[in-house]
Chain length 140, copies 2
DNA sequence: CTTCTTTACTTGAGTGAATCAAGGATCATT
DNA sequence: AATGATCCTTGATTCACTCAAGTAAAGAAG
């Protein structure tokens, strides 16, 4: 389990609840990944492969070094969840795609990670809209 | 930067905003720690030492193995931000406390980590209360 | 007071994430 | 044909994290 990102001493209830939310969310994500013997990073990458794409695109979207993606994809490939194919348009590049097993594991992960779904489900449709509006405003 | 914990394909706007929030929060925490040359885990532990306490208490609160805490504290100690003292009541145990420099760095970290404060600050007091209530309900 | 168990922490080994520096291959331009 | 940029991989290093094992001391039981 990764250590929680906080709290710094919180000066308001809202901040404290925000921290709680982030903490619970992160732990739920990690737990769901662990159920499938995946690291959070592996689950993250696997979840972004609904369409075949290049390593560089992944790195840019995830905001990390390309070599980091290489490592994670290598491990996913070793697990048989992902395959790298040459890019016919550019022989430097490689396209990553989920294998059928990768699709299945990703689907099971989406089922296991119930936190966001469950949390939102505790709210009425009206409340969901309110929450969305408030968080959008808070995010600036 | 740690990879974001999501998204799994989101089925509602509220879920998507929730993910955004968590992602931005985590990145802001990491960035604030990096400003002070700390890892997120180091900033986390440092922030929990407002009062002197034992290694085991930290491990339990943070939900990780005691040996993990040992390592992090060793590094914080090497940075001069934390000190371990023998526990006079129990010679097996050691008490960890921030040094004056640790206090200062922790304070600077709290200043640098503006995300939660800023986000909440974008809302009126009424809205803050609404958000708190909605998140509490969502957290179950 | 000895033995046994439990508690508190450390050490060592191993995995994985992340970053940086450097390099090979290919593309794109001139 | 040469130059430079781009895409990715490799290697080295640091840190987080976990597990297994070990030391030392506390606590309980005989």
């Amino acid at each position: 389990m990764a250590l929680p990102n906080g709290p710094v001493t919180t000066s308001s209830e809202a901040e404290a609840v925000l921290f709680d939310l982030v903490d619970v969310y992160d732990r739920a994500f990690e737990a769901a990944a662990a159920e499938l013997s995946l690291s959070p990073a592996q689950a993250c990458v696997l979840g972004r492969l609904d369409e075949r794409r290049g390593m560089g695109a992944l790195a840019e979207e995830l905001g990390c070094d390309a070599s980091n993606i290489t490592q994670i994809v290598v491990r996913l490939e070793a697990l048989g969840l992902v395959a790298r194919e040459p890019n016919p348009r550019d022989r430097r590049a490689r396209l990553v795609a989920r294998t059928p097993r990768g699709d299945e594991v990703n689907h099971r992960f989406a089922t296991a990670f119930t936190f966001a779904r469950t949390a939102v489900g505790r709210l009425s449709p009206d409340e969901q809209d309110q929450l969305t509006a408030l968080l959008r405003k808070a995010l600036g």
